[in-house]
Symmetry: C2
Subunit: 441 residues, 2 copies
Amino acid sequence: MRPYALATLRPQVHMRLETDPYLSRYADRVTGLSASEIRALFSVAERPEIVSFAGGMPDLSVMDLEAVAELTGHIIRDQGTVALQYGGGQGRAALREALVGVMAHAGVPATADELLVTVGGQQALELIAKCFINPGDIVIAEGPTYVGAVGAMSSHQADIRHVAMDGDGMRMDLLEELLAQLAREGRSAKYVYTIPNHQNPGGVSLSEARRRRLAELAVEHDLLVIEDDAYGLLGFDGENATSLRTLIPERVIYLGTMSKTFAPGVRTGWIAAPTPVREKLVLLREAADLCPSNLTQLMIERWLTTQPWQDQVKRYRALYQHKAELMLEALASEMPVEVDWTRPRGGFFVWLTVPRGIDTSGLLAKAIGRRVAYVPGRGFYDDGSGGDQLRLCFSFPPVDRIREGVSRLAELLHDELGLLRAVYGDGAPELAGRRDELGRA
Amino acid sequence: MRPYALATLRPQVHMRLETDPYLSRYADRVTGLSASEIRALFSVAERPEIVSFAGGMPDLSVMDLEAVAELTGHIIRDQGTVALQYGGGQGRAALREALVGVMAHAGVPATADELLVTVGGQQALELIAKCFINPGDIVIAEGPTYVGAVGAMSSHQADIRHVAMDGDGMRMDLLEELLAQLAREGRSAKYVYTIPNHQNPGGVSLSEARRRRLAELAVEHDLLVIEDDAYGLLGFDGENATSLRTLIPERVIYLGTMSKTFAPGVRTGWIAAPTPVREKLVLLREAADLCPSNLTQLMIERWLTTQPWQDQVKRYRALYQHKAELMLEALASEMPVEVDWTRPRGGFFVWLTVPRGIDTSGLLAKAIGRRVAYVPGRGFYDDGSGGDQLRLCFSFPPVDRIREGVSRLAELLHDELGLLRAVYGDGAPELAGRRDELGRA
């Protein structure tokens, strides 16, 4: 499940270092890499009695499986020797044409030649990190940011600097401050990684004014920007925000994915990049896995060219809006006043901030004991922050269990706050939220 | 197409370095990476009038496409919400169980827990390189070796040392010499990469005696061995050789793939590794692309558990044996006496050595002009060797065009040798083959 696996990919102390006889052989980049205890907890969280807000997954119950089965059968019968054969590293031209249509629907210009088909959005993040990052290179990302991006960049030994968000997305004043500081140090960032639409995990979007400011800063500081648009078509109001690629195309590497608007099981994402960069990325992709699956490429080609795919996006959007409303209502009525959260207008996630005295990593075992699961906040930062934050996914859990799950978590937090009050007394800093960042938007 | 894309992934001088405005931003590992002119030639080689021995592809004309279409339709209808959802990074347990069965059929012991499902064999090579190679680290590989392995290792800045082969595979005397030399320099190799069965591109297999000697040397020099078994089940006689994993399991990382025994379009390979290594590789795979496709995993699961998959392997084996015989007969009757080649007993490839005066990279354009294509030898080495060698694939071209293609290539080589004789005179070193390495076996 997407976030389970990646929640703790960041290097950390491995309890069993001494017992790994292969330790001296590993490359520097992986010596500290280790699975954590949280992984074990998440396998427990898959039990049916637990309401899991952890996995960042689409709800496939509204997918037209019959249509997918039928078109897939046709592909194998009619084009089987192509579908099951090797393909080119850049991905099929016909699929890239169709993806240009998806981008156009999101208001983002591109040509098929600029695109590289990837194994989901994650491979795009890995290829870009591999293409640009030398050990110790600085990259800038929202704080919190997508855990898989942290994983990909960390695996290339990036020095990740986080810029906090508020309800309007990444704070440009803080970005500017960071860029000025780097300039004073004679350093620069390899790129800025941003998820401007319905951010994972923040659940907020970059405002129009800040998009324009980010574009200005990119020009001023000669920056590349990675624009991860996983959730752009999943705004509840169906409107498109201005993409960074529209503003500064030669400075933007744009990422799209079919995982949210179609389904993740076909593992299909894409990169739109300036031609010289796209050429390098194709070579790296060939070293990584040769080529994407022709079969799943043909499935998406047919889906986009013969099926009413925009209706499917609308079905997802309506379902997620309903689920988000259920979650936000439940949070408003159940949570202690000391807890803050974001108000998403699209995407998959709500981001919660609890009082500092509570450690969300440590709390997870208790939460699972009370039959509710979330992802602790630390995995979404590379600097140890996030211990008082957590991510809730509303897209996947069944409609009729969202309230129940929120109640269980709220009850646990009430109990924890009661303990804190007993220890520290009312009004102690341990009981205060952090309203200056991603608190109440 | 598999070898087209990778033939020239090795870093080389880029003619357009000055024109790439992103040049200063790339990581060191990719600055020199560039597509070559050979790539453009290969796109021409796909024209129907050309007999292409270039692509290292299976012949899917003998696949039971109806069975694949039917089982895939069932999967999407019955398990669609699983097939199209995210999965775990290690791959489905049921598929890993089934792959253990495939390994057992090849005489290689394993448990499902030791396996990691990858995106073809190529991802396995990339993950292993990323796991072990620091820039400048030494790895040892056969010379020539699989071009995609050169690509993956080079992209992590490995120092690849080749060990020549003869008809019995990698020469252990030369390996021993290299290991002794490294020991004298106080250096060691991160691993030895070998394709012991029906090597790509050499077309030869490691003898039983050498397998045992390689195992001894691995223990003596404390080496890891990467055993790439892409072609193990495609021996024409249907017999299994002793796998290195059987001899020294704790020192071997074993790679398998469904690309040759089923089809490449499902992009499914696997790694069998000692547990601590497998754990690291799972983390790296999650950073690389999160998880393999549940859909294609379920397809292979059903294929292996409900279909007579061993009959399919037999069909491939018989077809390739027939094609190999046609190619070897044509070579014997058409080629100049100065040309040497290997006699494969399985796999996909014949490896040709031509007199030193002929450069196979330069010759390719002329060959395509004469409506025949091959892969020049240089891509299979990381040290500039192979200019007088080339790879012919017999598995993919149609039965009725193999002789025709060999005749065209033989005619070209006769003409080139005629030119050389005219320039240098009979008996000149430029006209002599290299019978000490992969010449006539």
